[in-house]
Symmetry: C2
Subunit: 383 residues, 2 copies
């Protein structure tokens, strides 16, 4: 199969972009990525987005955004709930591997803040099972709260331990110019924050924001002609599990993450120990904990303890979410997966600014849709 | 590039499926296609759908439908407005060509009839430009009405001539067990039907319906092992144009169709003259006329005259829409593109039942999103 490389990245700050529509936001990120890639000819566009129809009344988003960029090239919107960005990247990589397109722009965009929070909560719940979960009153936060409560019970983990993740994320985000919450916090503040759905408190939740991110990918052959600072896509994987959590064999294992990671590790011929830096999908503290375990960075039941020990920020194992993650960089849902790819790319090629880590050669991005029902994993390498 | 073949098709009747949810409908078509393909192992699922979020409150549709089928394999939803089905097929073909997946299920599903018509009209208008067109009161019918009026003026075509297309489609649909309107009609009835948006009358419009269609594709190598009655995907193309019709150089040429067709003809190494049968996107009579011209089956300004002459049903040039097309088979938007692929496949492999034509070896399917802003074209061959 044709090898694929990332040659450009672009992001907007995650915040309340009242001044920008979907296309303005997308264009900001896309043009930054195209400039960063030194203005190659773009052959196709893949867009990750979850809620443009519901929130902005706009479908046909691939064409809508291609048109605004002045690029009349094949364009597609991929919707896989909160993993739409990761799924768009996955399909763009396949499109380059197929040989039909050489250079592809992959972007994600979402505007969540122009509408009342109640609507956003209802819209995001569309990623769950509308007939078997949402109809009975479930929201994303309440589904995650059940998982967290059960995890605390099964592995005898005190509530406080989950507080270290948000603290670490807020600290990391202070170095990220694109972060929605670039402000430090403390364990005391996290644990005193309002309860949203017991045991989940406000500071366990990723914030609602608007944002767009984009990357330009091409064949490795083409990348070599254009730059000496490209990153290769060593592995990709996509995993699916029961959309309704009630139907799962094991509530505390995200099988979709395991399936996606297994494919990606195999294709890249690496193990979790080889990963130097990862951006993982911490929509809630419990999702960070489950993801760390299911990606193979900690044993089941041990991630919360490992986070407290600081091993995911001191270089002892893998650096996790130097961007601040969904928790503090922000989570503009359909764009999140592309932010992760952009951030890992920056780390590997040494363009991560104040966030830059040392000696990171292999990176991973994990993007979750639903309560762990749709997951993409990508493994990137700097050779 | 790896060659791709179609080894199974499945469809549901297009109608008001009050008894079935999205997943029931999809499963009916998908299981029929999988059975028709003799139960191969499915490696991935691509779903075309436009409005599940808006109408059914359900996102994450790839996973949702994979889960219901009991197939925990990578799954994606593609949304390109009314060309979502064609776009899902396009990306599934690329996925097989990439070498990552061998056998892929491509389906399209849409439920349009459970909600008041006014809502459906508003939802479908999301395929146009929400800020520059819809905000000012445009609907799909009114945008098409402007194109039709201008066409009549520019090419001096009387209103009556547009009436022959619906008559032909209703006649063809009488042979289609999956058609929503399998009833003949007359020119007099078409021309006396109520005006929807002058000069478009009710019988110029495709009906609103629910439906699902699916096909199974695999490598040609694999297809040869499984059946001697497969159809090959000789060419695919996708074209984009300004989403807003006001921004186009020429209102009466669908450049997106021309771009998609050019790619597909080139890849398949054929010309319009080589096409024996085609399913074209006749959402309105004017769209049939423009599509016939832009696909190369008639000169610009002459399609309406050619339809009246009967050359698209007597075997003189190309057989058009033996299924009855969007007009009479029905137009469950995100599923339409997959219906077209399924129908052309049936024609080429001789399994089209009462619709079966003689001596058809090369077929084409054209699927439009928006007012001609997103178009896919696929060329299929029986070798």
């Amino acid at each position: 199969m044709t090898g694929v490389a990332i040659i450009g990245v672009g992001m907007t700050k995650v915040t309340q972009h009242f001044e920008s529509g979907l296309r303005d936001l997308f264009a900001d990120a896309a043009l930054a990525a195209i400039r960063d890639a030194q203005n190659p000819k773009i052959d196709a566009i893949y867009v990750g987005n979850m809620l443009a129809g519901e929130i902005d009344g706009q479908a046909n988003l691939g064409t809508y955004l291609a048109d605004y960029l002045g690029l009349k090239v094949p364009a597609f919107r991929i919707e896989n709930a909160c993993s739409s960005g990761g799924a768009a990247f996955f399909n763009a990589v396949l499109a380059v591997k197929s040989g039909l397109f050489k250079t592809v722009l992959v972007g994600g965009v979402e505007k969540l803040t122009e509408y009342p929070t109640a609507d956003t909560t209802a819209y995001l719940a569309e990623a769950a099972d509308q007939e078997y979960e949402v109809f009975f009153g479930a929201t994303f936060t309440s589904l995650n709260a059940m998982l967290m409560r059960y995890y605390m019970h099964k592995f005898n983990v005190p509530r406080e331990l989950f507080g270290y993740w948000p603290v670490m994320m807020h600290k990391n985000a202070t170095n990220n110019p694109y972060a929605q919450l670039p402000v430090p916090t403390t364990l005391e503040r996290v644990l005193a924050s309002p309860i949203v759905a017991d045991p989940i408190r406000l500071f366990d939740c990723s914030p609602t924001g608007d944002g767009a991110a984009a990357v330009v990918i091409t064949t490795i052959e083409e990348a070599k002609k254009m730059t000496d600072n490209y990153v290769t896509v060593a592995g990709i994987g996509m995993g699916v599990d029961s959309i309704s959590i009630a139907m799962r064999d094991d509530l505390l294992t995200l099988k979709a993450t395991k399936r996606a990671a297994e494919q990606a590790y195999k294709m890249a011929n690496v193990t979790p120990k080889d990963i130097d830096v990862a951006e993982i999908h911490d929509a809630f503290s419990i999702m960070a904990v489950l993801s760390i375990e299911d990606l193979g960075f900690a044993e089941k039941g041990e991630a919360a303890f490992a986070i407290k020990e600081g091993i995911f920020e001191n270089g002892e194992t893998v650096y996790l979410n130097p961007s601040g993650g969904l928790k503090a960089r922000g989570h503009p849902v359909g764009a999140t997966g592309v932010y992760q790819i952009a951030e890992v790319t920056n780390q590997l090629r040494g363009t991560a600014g104040k966030m830059q880590l040392n000696d990171v050669k292999t990176g991973l991005a994990q993007n979750i849709g639903g309560s762990g029902s749709s997951v993409t994993v990508a493994i990137l390498k700097k050779e």
